[in-house]
């Protein structure tokens, strides 16, 4: 216990710093993933054929092991002189976040009660009005669930990104391994777990806020 206190006394500020780095990397990746995934998911509801293609590709992407995807990213990005560091890790995280976001957006809007949609059409709403006023608000809880999955997934994957020089809490773990220092490994792991739990709880709160406000419960698909 005393050793732990000593360890934390020395390393607390560094752990905090790396936690912030980790959170920033994941947040940036999620923001970009949302900017791509949500419009794409919405568009896919108007094109069944494309939906099939995109969802299949996204689901294959998710099966690619993270270290292997980093391995492929490095040679590609070294073409533009960005081989190791932030960019390949960032792009990989954006890709991994796509499936849960696109899939949940797509299914949520697809599953909006058809009677509600009919009512909107019957009231003379135009397509974009219907989308903004009826379909998106009602699909929000499920879309939020997709975002949660993506965030928790990314927090875990970003750990491995430390090996390709992307920083974050993975640095503690990789250093711990190479130095045989369990304090580093354990503190890094706990910090990652806490970050994931807090992010998940925070997003769940937002999701519940939308759900409780009388929005319809579209059956969630994780």
């Amino acid at each position: 216990m005393e050793r732990w206190l000593n360890f934390l006394e020395v390393n607390a500020s560094r752990i905090l710093e790396l936690t912030v780095d980790h959170a920033i990397l994941v947040t940036l990746a999620i923001v970009v993933a949302l900017a791509i995934g949500i419009p794409l998911g919405i568009y896919l509801t108007t094109n069944e054929y494309l939906a099939g293609v995109v969802l299949q590709v996204a689901s294959i992407t998710l099966t690619i092991p993270s270290i292997a995807l980093f391995g492929v990213m490095i040679p590609i990005f070294s073409l533009i002189g960005q081989g190791i560091g932030f960019l390949p890790a960032f792009v990989a995280l954006v890709l991994y976040a796509q499936l849960p976001i696109i899939r949940n957006t797509y299914t949520a809007i697809k599953n909006v009660n058809p009677e509600m949609r009919d009512a909107a059409i019957g009231m003379g709403m135009k397509t974009h009005q219907r989308l903004w006023r009826v379909e998106i608000p009602n699909a929000l809880p499920v879309i939020m669930a997709g975002i949660r999955t993506a965030v928790v997934l990314n927090i875990g994957i970003a750990v491995i990104a430390a090996y390709i020089g992307a920083g974050g809490l993975g640095v503690l773990i990789t250093q711990g391994i190479s130095r045989g220092d369990n304090y580093l490994i354990i503190s890094g792991s706990i910090a990652v777990a806490i970050l994931a739990i807090i992010a998940d709880a925070f997003l769940l709160m937002i999701q519940k806020f939308f759900t409780n406000k009388g929005y319809s419960q579209v059956t969630a698909e994780r």
Partner: protein, 247 residues
């Protein structure tokens, strides 16, 4: 309708083209050459990788499925949330950390990696087993009891067939995850294809990177595909639609 199909096909073809371009580029730069020039090493690494995954996955299935069945029995129902919460919490611990922490328990090497992979893949299988059994309609179980089925008959004839889809999906998730995590086994000296990926990172050698990363990727995609096919064979036709929980 026609335009939609056209767009879909253009996207599909561009993706094919992108993948093809990548392979042509990689071949043109001889990035795959290590697989052939160091064929012996490649095969050893591949075998290590597969053995790691197969052994740890089988052990995980042997533990996680019975455990999932056990906690869904009436006697343990009340304790179920404890296990489920532990399982959920466990999934927030990074795979790399699980590997690393095992070093202090078991030292460096193959056995440690198998044990770490085994621990890590228990979670998805356990979770899906519990979820699969839990989502079975209570009325169905009530009908089965009312017909005079014994508990083990209800388990083997009703509960397991109707949750097979979910259980197999959990196994698939675990195996695919395992293939990726096994690529990290290098860091605790257990070999596998990760050796080449990490060598590539350390030496800035694109050849090692690609020769390691692409086989691992194909292995994961292949395992995913085969296990989906297996689901189709194993799960009874009527239970396919009811058992769907996770994609």
């Amino acid at each position: 309708m026609k335009r939609q199909k056209l767009i879909a096909n253009i996207v599909r073809l561009s993706l094919y083209a992108l993948v093809a371009a990548f392979f042509i580029w990689a071949i043109a730069n001889s990035y795959f050459d290590y697989i052939f020039t160091q064929q012996g090493t490649f095969l050893i690494l591949l075998r290590q990788h597969i053995v790691l995954v197969v052994v740890s996955s089988l052990l995980a299935i042997l533990i996680a499925v019975p455990a999932g069945i056990l906690v869904t029995r009436p006697k343990f129902r009340k304790a179920e949330w404890i296990f489920s919460n532990i399982a959920n919490l466990g999934q927030t611990i990074p795979s790399l950390a699980v590997l690393a922490l095992m070093i202090s328990l078991l030292g460096i090497g193959f056995k440690t990696a198998v044990f770490a992979l085994f621990i890590y893949s228990i979670l998805p299988i356990f979770r899906n087993t519990v979820a699969g059994i839990d989502t079975i309609d209570e009325n169905m179980i009530d009908a089965a009891k009312g017909m005079g089925m014994k508990p083990y008959q209800i388990l083997f004839r009703i509960e397991l067939p109707n949750s097979a889809y979910s259980i197999l999906a959990g196994i698939r998730t675990a195996v695919v995850l395992n293939i990726g995590t096994a690529a990290l086994a290098y860091v605790i000296g257990a070999g596998g294809l990760g050796v080449w990926i990490f060598t590539g990172i350390n030496l800035f050698d694109n050849g090692f990177l690609i020769s390691g990363a692409i086989p691992v990727t194909l292995l994961a995609i292949l395992a995913d595909y085969l296990l989906r096919k297996l689901e189709y064979v194993v799960v009874p036709e009527g239970a396919r639609r009811t058992g769907k929980i996770e994609d």
